[in-house]
Symmetry: C2
Amino acid sequence: MNIKDVADRSGLPAKTIRYYEEIGLIRPLRAANGYRSFRESDLHKLTFLSRARSLGFSIEDCRTLLALYEDRARASADVKAVANAHLARIAEKIAELRAMEAALRHLVGACAGDARPDCPILAGLETGLPQTGQTGSGGTR
Amino acid sequence: MNIKDVADRSGLPAKTIRYYEEIGLIRPLRAANGYRSFRESDLHKLTFLSRARSLGFSIEDCRTLLALYEDRARASADVKAVANAHLARIAEKIAELRAMEAALRHLVGACAGDARPDCPILAGLETGLPQTGQTGSGGTR
DNA sequence: CTTGACCTTCCCGTGACTGGAAGCCCTATA
DNA sequence: TATAGGGCTTCCAGTCACGGGAAGGTCAAG
């Protein structure tokens, strides 16, 4: 198979496949004309990589997972450990984003969004964020 | 003020402050010896930037927000629009991460995590993800 | 023999910095 | 006065995971 074939079948752009070769994730053969020649096993790996990446695993995680994938003597515990570490990172990111979302939503909720210049969003960015709002109806400042 | 002072007071690394000057977010004065000389207004801007960045606004968003911050004739609606667009991006990212989390949690839940090589996580990455599990008790492969 | 699709390598750009090298400036102390 | 230290400067390279595009080789069809 040429690169376009495996690109179409794995769902990865040809550019990405070349990159994966460059960083040593795959090692396709070469035809006499210099073209990459992909085996079924290469296609399997690329599909694997495509899916692992879509779950947010880093390239280094993918390298590890791919090694485990190819190691018939692996322990599923090793795979699970990588996955759990990644789950933890995902949870962390979600928590960060939710904190941002809450703080920003709070500011947005306080902003009239009209033609006047008074803006609690800018005020919040100026003076230090959420502080549980409650600027008071009298609004100091 | 020298760069270290504004770094300490704004919470931004000196490197970042130099970078922000390079991309035109701030324009500190220069002393005779070539050192950057920061005014109070520069410090305000840096603090503003630090907070906006911590809410996840992109540098380009920050540029826009900073311009609005400095424009006394601004309409709060313009600020709110930027903030709402960012809120939408945050919500989108959270949704993506949650989808990853759900898919991965599903796989992890099915994995024994012991010394044996059989691993539903690797199987899931190989064959195409969630498919509501149910590999059948006979377990092909 | 030309067209057009495919393939190759190489280099630059992305976002938002971070690290480090090489070298100037300033203050304090011996 | 010499020196040690800390701070400041610029510039270059690296990060992560690619994507865009140039310049040029290859192949099958008409």
